[in-house]
């Protein structure tokens, strides 16, 4: 796999996400030729969101503003780990008629990323069945890339 230095890091505002980011920073921090994308994917609004008179634009603008702050913070962490800020891109998307893991894999395919980094919460069986595990889904359904699951 010759594009492994093209790294897609899925981030959110959780400690496990930060762990993944720190781990990735340690591994790729001072490597030359690294190209990183910080990806934050958020879900569609709940079905009752529109009942309050709010629009999809209200929802996305609020989520994107939160995500911009998140991406900035993550960018800072990677920069401190030694990655050239010019090599760090940010991407924020809503999982539109898809799950979050499907959206991450779509970005990986489109951008031909060789590595995906994701934090792992460590959920119970029942939680995984009902709420899903993004890291499990990435491991099961990824193609043409390596997935680093950081627990």
């Amino acid at each position: 796999m010759n594009n492994w230095k093209k790294v897609l890091i899925a981030v959110d505002n959780t400690p496990t996400s930060d762990k993944g980011l720190q781990y990735a920073g340690k591994i790729i921090g001072n490597l030359p030729g690294v190209d990183v994308c910080l990806l934050h994917v958020y879900p569609e609004p709940p079905p009752d969101y529109y009942n309050s008179g709010k629009s999809l634009a209200d929802y996305t603008s609020q989520r994107e503003a939160e995500a911009d702050t998140l991406v900035q913070r993550c960018r800072q962490m990677l920069t401190e780990a030694g990655i050239d800020p010019e090599s760090i891109a940010g991407d924020v998307r809503m999982a539109e008629e898809k799950t979050i893991s499907e959206t991450i894999l779509e970005v990986q395919q489109q951008g031909e990323y060789g590595t995906i980094v994701v934090g792992r919460r460590g959920v119970s069986k029942a939680e995984e069945f009902l709420f899903g595990s993004i890291s499990s889904a990435l491991v099961h359904h990824s193609r043409d890339c390596t997935v680093w699951v950081v627990g």
Partner: protein, 327 residues
């Protein structure tokens, strides 16, 4: 507002002679706006889509724990032009949480989703039929055909046979009818819809065809990463209920003279349901004549499972294989 006197002469005539209005001490009111559905009463008329629906009764809640509560947003009606009996569902936005063990899932009553599902399943033999129209205030009124039949959980209790006899003689036919219902939920999922309220009492057995049909599509839930998991889990629950003809908890085993403590002692932590506390999923330990192939399906929904069904189609194919081979 439409006054009684404004109604067409033939409708007024029908009302005069109708059993419902004959017993009324007031004139029927005509509602063209159903926003305040609690104001609509027995003997009133809901005028939508140019059709005059006389309210003849209200449906009642079948959910366990709130049995028999009147649902004022779901009147039973008669179309005064055709004489057909229908059920109307009026817009009632409701949000509530359902709890599975330690987990809480937000649920919603979603009339728009039900209208879209009704459109999708038009002509499908395993779903209730109906259409959605707007009242004068823009409320989505669903006009539903009444299924002439009974809930499947009532039907399976008609025979008073013992469980082994039920299992060998009645269950194969019941599951052969349930199988296409499982497939039907997969059909919804393939179009991006959830049923939202898969329950054994939401399958009606049509009297003249024997077909099993799903009812009630207005519930929705929010599980963005596993959008169909709850439907899938409840399909497994319904399958286990049909097989055991009840939900089984340790107290039921202890209370059953055919089972008792010797059977209860065999139950291990992994035999319980993944999400329903103390409900036993490993039914073969209670009824040893349940074939392993069928029991393996149940075990996918147990705490001991290493593998989940990811899609309804996987469950469907396993059940189909079991039923094709028989027992």
């Amino acid at each position: 507002m439409v006054e009684f006197a404004d109604l067409p002469a033939e409708i007024r005539e029908k009302l005069r002679n109708h059993r419902v209005t004959r017993s009324l001490r007031r004139k029927s009111r005509v509602f063209v706006d159903t926003t305040n559905f609690t104001a609509i009463d027995y003997g009133d008329i809901i005028l939508v889509d140019g059709r005059y629906f006389l309210v003849t009764a209200f449906t009642r809640e079948g959910r366990f724990g709130v049995d028999d509560q009147v649902k004022p947003w779901v009147p039973k009606v008669e179309d005064l032009t055709t004489g057909e009996h229908k059920i109307l569902k009026l817009v009632f936005h409701e949000t509530f949480d359902i709890t599975f063990g330690p987990f809480t899932i937000p649920c919603y009553r979603n009339p728009e989703k039900e209208a879209r599902v009704l459109e999708l399943v038009k002509g499908h033999p395993h779903f209730m039929q109906g259409e959605a129209v707007l009242d004068e205030a823009g409320n989505l009124v669903r006009i539903l055909d009444i299924i002439n039949g009974s809930r499947v959980d009532k039907v399976i209790h008609r025979s008073k046979s013992g469980h082994k006899e039920y299992f060998n003689n009645e269950l194969p036919d019941i599951l052969a009818h349930y199988l296409p219902c499982v497939k039907a939920i997969g059909f919804l999922h393939s179009h991006g819809f959830r049923h939202g309220d898969v329950r054994r009492d939401h399958i009606f057995v049509e009297r003249h065809t024997g077909l099993y049909r799903w009812i009630d599509f207005d519930y929705d839930f929010y599980l963005p990463e596993k959008p169909f998991a709850l439907d899938l889990y409840e399909l497994g629950n319904a399958l286990m209920y049909l097989t055991a003809r009840r939900n089984l908890y340790p107290r039921d085993i202890m209370a059953d003279p055919d089972l008792g403590e010797s059977v209860a002692r065999k139950i291990e932590p992994g035999d319980y349901s993944l999400l329903s506390k103390n409900r036993i999923a490993n039914l073969q330990k209670i009824y040893p004549y349940i074939p392993t192939t069928l029991n393996n399906i149940f075990l996918h929904f147990s705490l001991g499972t290493e593998v989940f069904y990811e899609t309804v189609d996987e469950l469907y194919l396993d059940l189909k294989t079991v039923l094709t081979k028989g027992w």
